[in-house]
């Protein structure tokens, strides 16, 4: 995964430099000279570190800028739950596109609690109804914020 992501960044920087190469200087200083070309050089350094195992051999001391994932599950379970999670999330996004936010989010919450969370159907229903009340009651009714109705209802 590590090397693949680094290679993806390399592709992005190469494409960015290639696309911006013919722009006038005023437009390409930042994206090409400051970001893409130094980015490419850094990616090559990083690839060298990954290939030679240089980074892994260094001491683990030092400040960590970002939180580190400390989830300890066997690989298969982690993969299954990760794919499942993104399935729910992408399903929610597609649902909003097709059915609109007012219908999709309460259903998403209800189904997630029922299927994934294995909550009792009544608890899941209460969660779905509460979501509907927040989205329709608070936003549409009280704040008069109209959400788009989704592709199937003439977006």
């Amino acid at each position: 995964v590590k090397a693949n992501l680094t290679l993806l960044f390399l592709v992005i920087f190469v494409v960015a430099a290639f696309v911006g190469w013919d722009w006038p200087n005023i437009a390409k200083i930042m994206p090409v000279y400051v970001a893409a070309i130094p980015g490419m050089i850094l990616v090559f350094v990083q690839l060298y570190r990954e290939v030679t195992g240089w980074e892994a051999s260094r001491s683990a001391s030092g400040v960590q800028m970002d939180e580190v994932s400390d989830v300890k599950l066997d690989q298969q379970t982690e993969l299954r739950r990760t794919v499942g999670f993104f399935g729910w999330f992408i399903g929610g996004a597609v649902g909003i596109w097709l059915l609109g936010i007012v219908i999709t989010l309460p259903f998403l919450v209800f189904l997630y609690a029922l299927v994934e969370g294995k909550e009792k159907w009544f608890t899941a229903l209460i969660m779905g109804v509460c979501t509907y009340l927040v989205i329709w009651g608070l936003f549409e009714y009280m704040l008069e914020t109209r959400w788009p109705s989704g592709l199937l209802f003439g977006y």
Binding site: A27, G39, M65, V68, S69, T82, A113
Partner: protein, 513 residues
């Protein structure tokens, strides 16, 4: 005629005297409290990322009240998990577990919480006072700064990614370069040229930082909850003792609170130190400077709670000094705060001091009032808040789904926003797994646009002679020196750590043989 800072302070105070501002601050306080107490994964960056798309449509002072209210109380209430469950809290509150949890187990949980709230509240006020003093002190210097100096300051901020990324400086810089590049997507204001638009009208105005931040931080956090499928594993220790004992302890140790608060302010101001070290520095200082009972540290000494909590809360004031006066963020939370300020039309840094000093003072007032409110909330609702830590993932994950999808869709109400949130969510997941720091990318995104603007103005006004301006040379030298000394300090620390590991291994093998 330009108003004096005193007038600005008065105006800033009157700006916040509105019912909706107080209401927003109370909502922020509630969100911050929940964030601090709720189990794993809910840090302030995530809360800011979720709130950003909503608050940027509000009046600035109301939105600021919500954001600052959430962040200041989150630090004050961060001691719940360490004291009651023995789980290190968010960054900045991890050292509290060393003495807080033993106190909880001894039946002094309330005393530890009381000390933590009181020390946190006092630390927050000391941090705010430092910010108040820093504004007039910095103003004469700020008037010497033009676009070239501001560009160098931004460059300084960006160079700090190499330091902030600690163990992985190259990955930090790659992430920052990616952020800089994404910041240039859209039509360039200066030349009108379309950059990386690929004939997509959606990309004409660039990509919304609020959506990217929401995806990068929100989705991996929700995924963590879904993966582990739990709240808090441990049972909480029974909440016994008296909050007032903790208050009395803190007042008795007032000098320790003051010293550790200044440790926090210093960590907040100096780029590159980060919130990860603030509590440990303060704890170390308290243990080393203790004249009596040094051996009690780690076994339930109240000073081991007071020191990290006061430093952690004072750090927010120090963070704001750099963010508001210089305009470069100290971390991802302040980077997102800058995004909000930019969306409201403020340019943090010298320009904001010159043109919107009243808004800076409104932020200062809100910071102080939210600190006091957070302390009171902690005292009044101590027992009830402890129950929040037991919320199950089946409630948390759907709530996060709602906020992420609603937050992303509310920016432009364009289905393509959903594609962007999914795409960057997946990128955020892989970045975290591969050790690419996401805050570096956000810093690049925030600073990219500003840097380009200042660079353009500098070249347009002075050609390349701007590089010879005395203030630019001084700032470049300062940036280089600070980078050099911080990196050298890190390398020394790394060598010492390797040496101690080596000597430990030698000692172990000797004893085994």
């Amino acid at each position: 005629m330009e108003a004096s800072l005193f007038d600005a302070a008065i105006k800033g105070f009157f700006n916040i005297l509105q019912l909706k501002v107080f209401f927003a601050m109370l909502i922020g306080v509630s969100i911050g409290t929940f964030t601090a107490v709720a189990p794993q994964g809910l840090g302030m960056p995530l809360v800011y990322a979720i709130l950003l798309p909503v608050v940027i449509k509000w009046e600035p002072v109301t939105g600021i009240a919500l954001l600052i209210g959430a962040s200041s109380v989150s630090a004050i209430c961060a001691a719940y998990l360490p004291i009651l469950f023995g789980i290190p809290g968010g960054s900045g509150s991890q050292a509290t577990v060393l003495d807080g949890y033993p106190m909880g187990k001894k039946g002094e949980g309330r005393r530890a919480l009381g000390a933590s709230f009181m020390a946190g509240g006092m630390g927050c006020l000391i941090g705010t006072l430092t910010l108040i003093i820093a504004i007039p002190a910095a103003k004469p210097l700020i008037y010497l700064m033009g676009s070239p100096e501001l560009f160098v300051i931004m460059l300084w901020g960006l160079s700090m990614v190499a330091v902030l990324a600690g163990r992985r400086p190259i990955k930090g810089l790659i992430a920052a370069a990616l952020g800089l590049m994404i910041a240039t997507v859209g039509q360039q204001a200066q030349s009108g040229i379309m950059r990386y638009v690929f004939d997509q009208p959606y990309l004409l105005d660039g990509m919304a930082i609020s959506i990217i931040a929401l995806a990068l931080f929100g989705i991996p956090s929700a995924l963590d909850l879904a993966l582990t499928k739990l709240g808090v594993e441990q049972q909480a220790v029974p909440l016994k003792g008296s909050l007032f004992d903790g208050i009395k302890d803190t007042l008795r140790e007032w000098w320790l609170v003051v010293r550790c608060s200044f440790v926090g302010v210093w960590v907040g101001i100096v780029p590159g130190l980060g919130s990860q070290v603030v509590d440990w520095l303060a704890y170390g200082h308290a243990a080393q400077s203790a004249k009596v009972g040094r051996e009690n540290f780690g076994k339930g000494d109240v000073r081991g709670v007071i020191a990290p909590e006061s430093a952690n809360d004072a750090k927010d004031g120090g963070d704001l000094v750099t963010t508001l006066l210089l305009g470069f963020p100290q971390g991802v939370t302040t980077a997102l705060f800058i995004v909000a300020l930019l969306a409201w039309g403020y340019l943090p840094g010298p320009e904001m001091i010159k043109k919107n000093a009243d808004m800076i003072y409104s932020i200062v007032w809100i910071q102080g009032i939210a600190g006091i409110t957070g302390t009171l909330v902690g005292f009044l609702l101590a027992a009830q808040l402890a129950k929040l830590a037991e919320v199950r993932y089946t409630f948390m994950v759907p709530i996060m789904f709602i906020f992420i999808l609603l937050g992303a869709f509310s920016v432009n109400r364009d289905p393509l926003d959903l594609v962007v949130v999914v795409g960057f969510g997946i990128l955020g997941y892989f970045m975290r797994r591969s050790g690419y720091p996401r805050p570096a990318m956000i810093l690049g995104l925030v600073l990219g646009d500003l840097m380009e603007k200042y660079l353009y103005r500098s070249v347009a006004s002075y050609g390349f002679s701007w590089l010879a301006r005395p203030a630019v040379i001084v700032l470049l030298a300062l940036a280089a020196l600070s980078l050099f000394f911080t990196l050298r300090g890190q390398m020394r620390a790394r060598k010492e750590a390797s040496a101690s590991t080596f000597s430990g291994a030698v000692a172990r093998s000797a004893s085994e043989s």
